[in-house]
């Protein structure tokens, strides 16, 4: 009798129970045990022309590293992964896999795709936890000096790649610690900071130098960096200009931009007040305006800070919510409510200027707009109020002009983002490259890293061969 191979389903990842995790800052998904990872890896068909790799912005050899897991060669697996991705522990956690690698997986066309992100995370965690992190051989110094401005995923990628080519790299960071959005934006319960610090420590051991507290454009200009002997500069300052709604009452105490709310809680560890000094309003009835990943992170943070109710207020419908499906799912499990087709029109406060109430208007969907999504249209007279003592505005971010306004040689597009060549990241200023969110507007971690990879290759060519 022919043996019928039992079909293995996509392996679930153990998670903290929603009722418990909604009040702590520990990581939500707990990672695959080795047996589960091997089982999941066995599901991969090892396609000849894998759709998954095409979906990954840095083109990781996905069947390649999965094969090593299936045959229990974890060390070979992580080596393969690291050929293309210097931050696998981060990407395995925060990439929107469903629209990138896993979205291209053949198994996903009929059933469930291979859990590529979880496998990537498994290898990276295994390497770190087993103490297997090895330093690669670093070539002899070239004597060329490179400055990287901004220490988010894009800047870190360039720093790592160029260090491995023997160049002398210094990263300048405005904040007191490196990491960019990975540090101050994405919360601990999605990306434990110890993992980030381990990655940064690895770069330091490679020889990358970090100059924190260095606001480039203020303390030193790009021209001055050249004068100090840097021969090439990579600008990756992110998209850090918060948008507000422009409605009355927005400056009341208790109304935050998501940037401020998350920076206070993540970077400054306000959730550990008073052990840490930075305060943060602990709202009882919270609204978060917007429906992207940033909004989900803010809402889930507010819940963990002890809120009774947290509502996501969004002017379109569920279909248009830009956040990852997994994040919305996690948020709803934790008791966060969705108030869709709803738009805040006014914030009201008490005599001390503290937020007490928000007034909203009901919306309906009209004709499609320029983005192809149906435009939200206010319903006349459909106003209502809700008691609210904390509102987090999370409706996007723009280009922060702090550096670009002091560097006239950098051409900007009409929205203030730096103009850079698609394949190389070269800007209009000689010796200066740019990439990540400051070129594309807010995108994803792995896209910012992909831009860094391309720029690093182009910068290396310049340093060895010329502009």
């Amino acid at each position: 009798m022919a043996e019928v191979k039992e079909k293995v389903p996509r392996q679930k990842m153990p998670e903290q129970d929603p009722g418990v995790r909604k009040r702590n800052f520990k990581e939500v998904p707990l990672g695959y045990p080795a047996e589960t990872a091997i089982l999941e890896a066995g599901r991969c068909l090892q396609c000849k022309t894998p759709g998954c790799s095409k979906g990954c912005p840095v083109g990781i050899d996905i069947p390649g590293f999965i094969k090593e897991i299936a045959s229990k060669n974890f060390e070979a697996g992580i080596a393969k992964l690291k050929e293309q991705n210097a931050l696998p522990a981060v990407c395995g956690r925060v990439c929107p896999q469903e629209s990138q690698c896993e979205g291209g997986c053949i198994l996903g066309k009929k059933g469930e795709s291979v859990a590529i992100g979880r496998l990537e995370r498994f290898l990276a965690d295994w390497e770190r936890n087993e103490g297997k992190v090895k330093l690669p051989n670093i070539p002899a110094p070239t004597g060329k000096r490179v400055a990287v401005v901004g220490s988010g995923p894009s800047g870190l990628t360039v720093a790592g790649d160029l260090c491995l080519k023997g160049h002398d790299v210094t990263v300048f960071e405005a904040f007191h610690k490196p990491g960019g959005v990975l540090l101050y934006g994405i919360p601990e319960f999605r990306l434990p900071k110890d993992i980030l610090f381990a990655e940064i420590n690895y770069l330091e051991r490679l020889g990358v130098k970090f100059e924190v507290n260095s606001v480039v454009g203020k303390v030193v200009s790009l021209e001055e960096l050249f004068a100090e002997g840097y021969q090439a500069i990579y600008v990756a300052v992110g998209a850090g200009l918060p948008y507000f709604l422009g409605v009355p009452g927005e400056n009341l105490i208790g109304v935050y931009s998501a940037n401020e709310y998350l920076t206070r809680s993540n970077l400054m560890k306000a959730y550990l007040f008073p052990e840490y000094d930075t305060p943060l309003v602990r709202g009882k009835n919270v609204i978060v305006v917007g429906a992207g990943n940033v909004a989900m992170d803010s809402a889930r943070t507010a819940m963990r800070m002890g809120a009774d109710t947290v509502k996501i207020v969004y002017r379109r419908s569920r279909e248009e919510m830009p956040a990852r499906a997994e994040e919305i799912h996690h948020a709803e499990e934790e008791g966060i409510e969705l108030f869709l087709l709803t738009n805040p029109v006014r914030f009201m406060g008490d005599a001390d200027g503290r937020l007490t109430t928000v007034e909203c208007q009901k919306m309906e969907l009209g004709e499609p707009d320029a983005s192809g999504r149906r435009r939200p249209v206010p319903i006349e007279g459909a106003f209502f109020t809700m008691p609210t003592d904390l509102a987090v505005i999370s409706v996007g971010a723009g280009a922060n002009p702090l550096l670009t306004s002091t560097t006239p040689a950098l051409s900007l597009n009409k929205r203030g983002y730096i103009v850079a060549q698609a394949e190389t990241g070269k800007t209009t200023m000689k010796g200066v490259w740019a990439g990540g969110d400051i070129v594309t507007g807010m995108a994803t971690v792995i896209q910012a890293m992909g831009a860094g990879k391309q720029a690093a290759a182009s910068m290396h060519a310049y340093l060895t061969m010329g502009w």
């Binding site: 303390v219 850090g240 918060p242 927005e250 401020e260 000094d277 930075t278």
Partner: protein, 278 residues
Amino acid sequence: MYKILSKRELAQGTVVENVISAPRIAKKAKPGQFVILRVNETGERIPLTMADTDPDKGTITLIYQVVGKTTALMKSLGVGDGYQDIAGPLGKPTHIEKVGTVVCIGGGTGIAVLHPITRALKEAGNKVYALCGARTKDLLIMEDAMAAASTECTLCTDDGSCGYHGFGTDLLKQILDREKVDLVVGIGPVPMMKFVCAVTKPYNVKTLVSLNAIMVDGTGMCGCCRATVGGKTQFACVDGPEFDGHQVDFDELAKRLRGYSDMERQSMELFEHKCSCK
């Protein structure tokens, strides 16, 4: 680590002056700019104006009033200790040009912020009247430095223990009545700046104030420091800290400054408790 090279207590220990090693910042700083400082790993980021800089020695001078946990912690440090993080220079420098006659009016620690601006305005060829006020004689700071930085310096105290008996704004009004003034710079507590603006408004004299909004990053990425100026929201850290005082919504600023008072008190009590247990 940014080392403290000297420490001096002023105004009966309610105000402290630190000279700190920060060569890169010292080289770049201009009057009116500030730094953001974090004392240690668990510390808050707080903005402080540079009262002076020495680019050759690579030092900056901070003068701060002890008002809460962070400044109390700073006061507990001495020469040889240091601050973990200092970022700057931040904010727009004061626009210094020759306009004619200027009145620089400072209250409390605002005088420290006002000092480099006063000096620069005088060096630019302006006739500069300095008016320095405090509640009482012992709380006045930088009398000599302000005298040297200005064309004519008058001290005033609320209780008459030194100089003119009364508010600096009375003297400001006298000057405005007496001669043509082209610019007033008023820096101090919010109620004082509001009052200065109320005095100059009828004379239609341009009045600059420096907004001490609560800040986090100081680079325009969080919006914590927002203030309403001329009906529009501005970020004090990048659009300021100086603004046309006649356009500023001071009441909103005052409320926002009290936004965390409960937690600030809790922090302070915990700190004092720890200190007394040592």
